[in-house]
């Protein structure tokens, strides 16, 4: 958190890498230098009726060219405003914020992405590949056109799952995970809460201990900086953890999965 800066970043590109997903590439040299996989930014949105910033995971980090990117879908007024941005416009950013993934851990990393949760993985995969530990990447979506293209995970072994079987494994990404799961693995997971729950259950049945799973969580956020106490998730140790400060990336054994509420996802 202490590395966060406040900056105006310029839009360099606005693309649509997949159905239901848009990407904004921003010029932000200092942010790109400081950002770590799994961290997020608080983006200022200038949309009618809104008040708070919107948290977005860092979907690409390019310190060499001083660029960051964010991958998003339009779900409300804030994201609709982002969707209206074009090249050259300025965006107000605070970040990088929160704790990213810890990547100095064990061997055999597996990245498990559900839906837009895939946004956190390109920088993580990159870091793992550069650390000499190329991961397996499992990406799930409703249909093939909603998958982030495989080339965003250079160096990794990518497998995909679609609900309609239009690409790769037919079924959920968790059922795909079951086919590759092994106790020696380390899992990195991001996606809707029901998917996270399913991964936790699977971990128990295949013998991956929770302290070898890292999850990137999403909750509503007031500040993103640890001051409002609005973004809590129930902690295994009792009480609550701040998603914005202790998370968004947490070890699965830190979280009280039985008390977690679905703020956003059914």
């Amino acid at each position: 958190m202490s590395t966060a800066v406040l900056a105006q970043a310029t839009v360099l590109a606005h693309t649509r890498p997949m159905e239901g997903g848009e990407e904004l590439v921003l010029a932000h040299p200092e942010g790109a230098r400081r950002a770590r996989p799994g961290q997020f930014f608080q983006i200022g949105v200038d949309a009618k009726g809104t008040l708070l910033r919107r948290p977005y995971s860092i979907a690409a980090i390019d310190p060499g060219r001083g660029r960051l990117s964010f991958l998003f879908s339009v779900v409300g007024q804030g994201s609709a405003w982002l969707s209206g941005l074009s090249n050259g416009q300025a965006v107000d950013l605070i970040g990088p914020l929160g704790n990213g993934f810890v990547i100095d851990g064990g061997t055999s990393p597996v990245c498990v992405a559900g839906g837009l949760g895939v946004a956190v993985f390109p920088p993580l995969v990159d870091a793992l590949v550069r650390a000499g530990r190329p991961p397996i990447v499992l990406q799930g979506a409703r249909t093939g056109s909603r998958l982030l293209p495989d080339d965003r995970f250079a160096g990794a072994s990518v497998q995909v799952a679609t609900d309609d079987g239009s690409r790769g494994w037919r079924g959920s990404v968790v059922s795909l995970l079951r086919t590759v799961a092994a106790p020696s693995q380390e899992w990195f997971v991001c996606g809707p809460t029901p998917m996270l729950r399913a991964v936790i259950r699977l971990a128990g049945s295949v013998g991956v201990s929770l302290d070898r799973i890292q999850v990137a969580l999403e909750t509503p956020m007031g500040c993103g900086m640890g001051t409002c106490l609005g973004c809590v998730v129930p902690a295994a140790a009792g009480g609550y953890l701040l998603t914005c400060q202790e998370g968004p990336c947490l070890r699965a054994d830190q979280v009280a999965w039985d008390r977690i509420t679905d703020a956003f996802h059914e």
Partner: protein, 309 residues
Amino acid sequence: MSERTLSVDLGRGLRLRTPVLVASGTFAYGFDAPLIDRARLGAIVTKGTTLRARDGNPPTRIAETPSGMLNAIGLQNPGVAVVRREYAPRWAQWDLPVIVNVAGDRVDDYVEVARRLDGVPGVAGLELNISCPNVAAGLQFGLDARLAAEVTGAVRRATALHLMVKLTPNVTNLAAIASAIADAGADSLSAVNTFVGMAIDVRRRRPVLANVTGGLSGPAIRPLALRAVWEVAATVRIPVIGIGGIASASDALEFLLAGAAAVQLGTVNYVNPRAVAEVVEGIEQYAADHGFADLSAFPLRPSVVPSHA
């Protein structure tokens, strides 16, 4: 204009270099939010602090509404012992007064917290939170003039610190409650805390907040808070600190013109870390434009407050 011009003396030794404070619950205990310019800050008000540590309410705790937000944090805090032992010594190193926001369920709780903080280096004053809408008890004190006076008087007897009492706007007759609190020995009043509100998730068919209701803050409440300050400032003879939806220098000036001696910035700190600096600069500029020597020239109505400055 020199900085001295913006200084304000709230009484009983609480002198601020600028009339801009950060509101309780929007700056935690002052160790986070590194992007905010502390050099321009008059004081920090901490998160509501209770006798014993509290976990707070289950999530969902916050929801955005048009130009506002609802919160039902439920006074998550480490308890007064930690504040006294771990935080106060660090505050004592700072060139910035820290006011501890105090909450409780019964009069005795407030008194005990106040007693434990009395004379502790680093603690510059207390703000009595008798107005938190998000806990089972505590708000009732702010709703009734007699109860408000009772808790104010009891805490007054327990501490030599500056005693600011924070009003809830969720009442029929705010002026009467403000008067009772002033008469009971408060040094200043802060107005206002959040307005009780609610949001429903129509898709999931349930209230958005686990606590069902929450407190509304942010620009949406500014006109309501301003009118509360206008009314209270005309009623009491102690300084009033204006709070509610301030997001810009112009907003803060509305409160100073309505008779506030100082202002607190809350929700805006989540959105715009530059707000404190912008507000202080805007107040300075306004004084310069109008040739005002100090803050006592700001109010539209001749202040009933004796000048401390």
